[in-house]
Amino acid sequence: MLQKIYDWIDERVDVTPIWRDIADHEVPEHVNPAHHFSAFVYCFGGLTFFVVVIQILSGMFLTMYYVPDIENAWRSVYYLQTEVAHGQIVRGMHHWGASVVVVMLLLHTCRVFFTGSYKKPRELNWMVGVLLFFVILGLGFTGYLLPWDNKAYFATQVGLEIAQQVPFIGDALRTLLAGDPTIVGAQTLARFFAIHVFFLPAALFALLGIHFILIRKQGISGPL
């Protein structure tokens, strides 16, 4: 039955080459920890992606309870933390995942750097990867404000003051991020929420797509 459905779709859409392109390839010996244990360093990129998926899923569930508004943001997080079944675990995964993703990203960057994998022809993919690093740091910065507790509020205030000191565009940059040149308040929370939940994830998905397409196109770098 399943095979018939697959054949029916395949005849019309010709999907076999598509999924073969994605999944049917050889894993070379030098990146396979089953053959060389030290090859576990090649797992860091995949594990970073795994944590990013955890972040996306736990974040989706968090938005079911979170209210991006200064009166209710903290209360909704407190409610999630104390009353909702498994709320503490889901928020815990998102909170600790943010740190783990930065650690894994750093390890992955080190692996690529010290194996010289960014050299020709993989320059573009390295640059996409560094952009991904910035996007992740941006997600960390904007997500820090969302619980609207003291720690979040005052750290964001400091961060915005630093952004304001950038010459020429400082004030505009701060207003763009915070919604006001001086106040950290209702507008700031709404904007940080929008950036954290819509703008940066959109950039993240686009860059991740390019990152993976380039890997499949160029293959993993050869042994040293």
């Binding site: 005849e11 019309r12 859409v13 076999t16 080459p17 073969r20 999944a23 049917d24 390839h25 050889e26 894993v27 070379p28 010996e29 396979n32 797992c43 995949g46 594990l47 795994f50 955890i54 903290w74 997080v77 407190y78 933390q81 503490q88 675990i89 928020r91 815990g92 998102h94 909170h95 600790w96 943010a98 740190s99 783990v100 930065v102 080190c110 750097f113 010290f114 194996t115 010289g116 960014y118 050299k119 320059e123 390295w126 560094v130 960390g140 910065f141 619980p147 507790d149 003291n150 720690k151 979040a152 005052f154 750290a155 400091v158 961060g159 630093i162 000191q165 010459p167 950290v184 770098s221």
Partner: protein, 260 residues
């Protein structure tokens, strides 16, 4: 793909009507002991992923994610603290060459050079050799960058007492905060002696912990006000014994209210 006359398509689409099965390259054509990604290698990745997930869940269960009290923009004594992965930038701004007149150095020039070089690494390190010893400059700069980031993060985080911070900023819902009876005779004494550290509603602040929910007797509170405890210096309270009694009574009353 075949081209030209004689090709047959599905309907009016561009998909060939002739089914030519996708035949991947024979595994023997690859060097070394390769392994098929699908499904052999993917299964192993699943296993590694599961182990990783279990470890990660243990972490989240062992350490519930922290939450402090609701943001209070009027709290002037709060010491800001960014998340740990921004601490190195934060610490950099404390150096003389990166603060004051040289702030731009700390917020733009130095991070700009470091991250710019990281971004443009493939064009700065263009030699053909991939092994670390074949490109000593690139590897040396990266190690220098890593060591400075780790050093900055460590020197910023080491003096922070995260536990004490969490203790001082426990999450108390605003509606459950105690209404302090400002007409109490001890309130004026509290205001002039204790409020600057312990907050206007005994909720605690940057320098002192909350005084609500403390497990101390009246005598102990009186003694601490005079002699200090922990990081609290002695002689914070200066007044007569009668005033001290009123102060202690005030703190005890607020605590009783909070318990109800």
């Amino acid at each position: 793909m075949k081209k030209g006359k004689g090709m047959k398509f599905v309907g009016d689409s561009r998909i060939s009507a002739e089914r030519n099965p996708y035949i991947p390259k024979d595994y023997s054509e690859f060097p070394g002991r390769t392994e098929a990604f699908w499904p052999n290698y993917l299964l192993k990745e699943w296993l590694v992923g599961s182990v990783f997930l279990v470890g990660f869940l243990c972490l989240t269960l062992a350490h519930p994610s922290p939450l402090e009290g609701m943001a209070d923009p009027t709290n002037a004594s709060y010491i800001p603290l960014p998340d740990w992965y921004f601490l190195f930038l934060y610490e950099l701004l404390k150096y003389e060459f990166a603060s004051g007149n040289w702030t731009l150095m700390g917020i733009l020039v130095l991070p700009g050079i470091a991250f710019g070089a990281l971004f443009l690494a493939p064009f700065l390190d263009t030699g053909p050799g991939r092994r670390p010893h074949q490109r000593p400059v690139a590897v040396g700069m990266m190690l220098l960058g890593l060591v400075s980031v780790i050093w900055l993060t460590w020197s910023s985080a080491a003096p922070i007492d995260y536990q004490a911070r969490a203790e001082q900023n426990r999450p108390i819902p605003p509606d459950e905060q105690v209404q302090v009876d400002t007409s109490h005779e001890g309130y004026a004494i509290y205001e002039s002696n204790c409020m600057s550290c312990h907050g206007d509603a005994l909720q605690g602040g940057g320098a002192g912990p909350t005084l609500i929910g403390i497990d101390r007797s009246a005598e102990e509170i009186a003694q601490i006000a005079r002699e200090g405890v922990g990081s609290m210096p002695p002689d914070q309270f200066t007044g007569t014994d009668e005033e001290l009694e009123q102060l202690v009574d005030f703190i005890m009353t607020v605590n009783e209210q909070a318990q109800q």
